[in-house]
């Protein structure tokens, strides 16, 4: 294990222990242990069906665990509501861009501003200067500063991916989870996204699922390989790539 020193000194932001979920007897995630530190960019890779997306689902509460625990900043997520998990500081991007096609880019971002989240809060929500500034800042970050009034459904695929990342940034989460953020992006867009991720990972932890190895190399601090719902290997990109078990199940063929 050649993990970068320094990270292990702190208590991990996210601590997954013994996590198990089964669907009618099939264990999609099986006794999984995973720790993510503050300011870390962690990439999870693994062949299809390894349980990567299920892990994200479990963390953000979309799927309920059969057993085990997920501790986020000392709070147990497995018992919490989805929206409470989000409010606790976990943001999640879905595999396919999940944005509101009928709203403008501005409104998409505004929706994620962490105020007016209750029914009556939303009813009396006001577009304050703070909201405008935050939206503009995030929009600039995600390369959409000029397209605020564009209807989101008309954006390109890559721009939609960015927009969804931007929506997460609006929430200012401490743990950012991205499911295949560069899928369907052009080479230059990938580079831009890598740059974006490196910028936004300051002050928060990022958990990424990705297949594109070049992209993984350019962002990952540490890589975890999942196979059949279990951790197969964990460490730096190099160590993982040279791990014979990993080569056998994933990279080898």
């Amino acid at each position: 294990m050649t993990s970068p020193t320094g990270f292990q000194m702190n208590k991990p932001v996210l601590a997954i222990e013994g996590l198990t979920v089964s669907f009618d007897g099939f264990k999609a995630v099986d006794d999984l242990n995973l720790y993510i530190d503050r300011n870390e960019v962690r990439v999870v890779i693994g062949p299809n069906g390894a349980g990567k997306t299920t892990v994200l689902d479990l963390i953000c509460g979309k799927t309920r665990a059969t057993g085990g625990s997920i501790q986020f900043k000392d709070r147990e997520l497995t018992k919490m509501n989805e929206y409470d998990i989000v409010r606790a500081g976990v943001g999640r991007k879905f595999q396919t861009p999940s944005i509101y096609d009928n709203l403008s880019v501005f409104e998409n971002l505004e929706m994620s501003f962490p105020a007016g989240r209750s029914v009556f809060g939303a009813l009396f929500f006001k577009r304050t200067q703070a909201v405008l500034e935050r939206v503009n800042q995030v929009a600039a970050d995600i390369f959409l500063g000029d397209l605020l009034q564009q209807q989101a459904g008309l954006l390109s695929h890559g721009q939609k991916q960015w927009l969804e990342i931007g929506m997460l940034l609006m929430q200012d989460p401490e743990l950012l989870m991205l499911d295949e953020p560069v899928a369907g992006m052009s080479v230059s867009e990938r580079a831009q996204t890598a740059d974006l991720l490196n910028r936004i990972s300051q002050g928060r932890s990022v958990l990424v699922i990705e297949h594109d190895m070049e992209f993984v190399k350019s962002i990952a601090h540490k890589v975890t390989v999942l196979h059949q719902g279990k951790v197969l290997a964990e460490g730096s990109m190099e160590s993982v790539q040279n791990n014979p078990k990993v080569i056998e199940v994933y990279l080898g063929h």
Binding site: K62, E82, Y83, V86, N102, Q129, Q151, L154
Partner: protein, 393 residues
């Protein structure tokens, strides 16, 4: 002022509202006789339900097939108060037990049931008209939306609730007047509601309340909550994982729709002079959905036009061609759903605007349909057109 303007949906919204207000508050009272005006008043009580349906079905994606339940609850609360007032010991002295409603006397009830007692108070009644239906909607909504019941399930469950309430009302004849309903309502706080002048005043009160509901609806739709509703229709998961309690928002619009329906029901009892289980059941509930569908499920004003038009058509055709009426109603339903999912408002948006010469703004081509096969609506288009100007710092 600017905020108000925005709330009403920009210039177009204000104009639309003014046209409807002129029609209802000026044109109808001036051109229709007392009888027809009372009929329009009755139609407008259905418009409350339709407006509520626009909120919860059009925007919230929740198709309730049991809005008659709330209409009925509101109506029954009001009717109970009016009936008690009409059943003073003096005018019921021929009964074996004077002072109780006549149908109770026929059912050998000798004492006013406890359920009825609080309805001696007008304040209580007005509160009950609002609170009871909202409470019921809250229970149903919390139970179903918290557990993420699918839209179709929700429709069927609400339908069953409408059925239960109908059977219950009919079965508890001594308490509710059974299938005949509560009839022969005469006065409200001593004021004869059957006279032409009273009917005229009630018509305006009714219209005023309706516009109140519409404005409240517009306020909701133009708030962040309105955008959240649309966002939920698009990507419910995304909204949930942006930290929102999706179920709470659904419960809220459902309760608002229930409240609107109940107000409509209470006004119905006042204007028509009775209430019966035939407004509670499945058939009236679904008919009210037609009103919203014909007017345009995404348009609050459209719902009012839809209610007026369908009911006018119903009266007209059932008078002239009773045989054709059901064909027409069914055909209208099928046609609207299949070909004009946005109803009159959608047609107006896609054809009317163009036709109305002198409109300078570009047709809303940049807006994709809110749902497959659904054309944009004024509300949507206006918001799109209005918001960009304001959000630039």
């Amino acid at each position: 002022m600017n905020a108000l303007n925005k709330m009403l949906g920009g210039r177009q919204g204000v104009v639309g509202l003014l046209i409807l207000a002129t029609l209802i508050l000026v044109v109808f009272p001036l051109t229709l006789d007392a009888f027809r005006l009372n009929m329009v008043g009755k139609y407008l009580t259905y418009a409350f339900v339709a407006v509520g349906l626009v909120l919860c079905w059009g925007y919230g994606g929740i198709l309730s097939l049991g809005q008659g339940v709330f209409f009925g609850l509101g109506g029954y609360c009001m009717a109970m108060f009016l009936k008690l007032e009409a059943s003073d010991p003096e005018s019921t002295k021929i009964q074996s037990t004077p002072g109780i409603p006549d149908f109770m006397d026929w059912n050998q009830i000798t004492e006013l049931p406890w359920l009825w007692v609080p309805f001696h108070s007008f304040t209580f009644t007005v509160m009950a008209v609002i609170v009871l239906p909202v409470l019921l909607a809250l229970i149903i909504g919390v139970a179903l939306f918290r557990r993420r019941v699918g839209d179709v399930y929700f429709s069927i469950v609400t339908q069953a609730i409408a059925l239960i309430l109908t059977v219950l009302i009919i079965g508890q004849q001594g308490l509710t007047g059974g299938i005949n309903g509560i009839t022969d309502l005469k006065t409200l706080l001593g004021w004869d509601i059957r006279s032409d002048s009273a009917r005229l005043l009630l018509y305006f009160i009714n219209a005023g309340l309706l516009f109140g509901c519409i404005l409240f609806g517009k306020f909701i739709l133009n708030s962040k909550l309105g955008r959240l509703l649309m966002a939920m229709r698009d990507k419910e998961e995304r909204v949930r994982f942006s930290g929102y309690d999706v179920a709470a928002f659904k419960v809220f619009v459902y309760c608002v729709a229930a409240c609107f329906s109940a107000i409509g029901g209470a006004m119905f009892a006042l204007q028509v002079g009775f209430m019966s289980p035939s407004f509670v059941g499945i058939v009236p509930s679904i008919e009210m959905v037609i009103f919203a569908a014909v007017g345009g499920r995404m348009s609050l004003l459209g719902a009012v036009y839809g209610s007026l038009l369908v009911n006018y058509g119903k009266t007209y055709f059932s008078e002239s061609f009773p045989e054709l009426w059901l064909y027409l109603m069914g055909g209208l339903f099928i046609a609207v759903v299949m070909y004009f999912p946005n109803g009159l408002a959608g047609l107006w948006e896609s054809h009317g605007r163009k036709w109305l010469s002198g409109v300078t703004r570009k047709p809303a081509t940049v807006i994709a349909s809110p749902a497959p096969g659904i054309t944009p609506t004024p509300a949507l288009a206006d918001k799109k057109a209005a918001s960009p100007l304001e959000i630039q710092p």
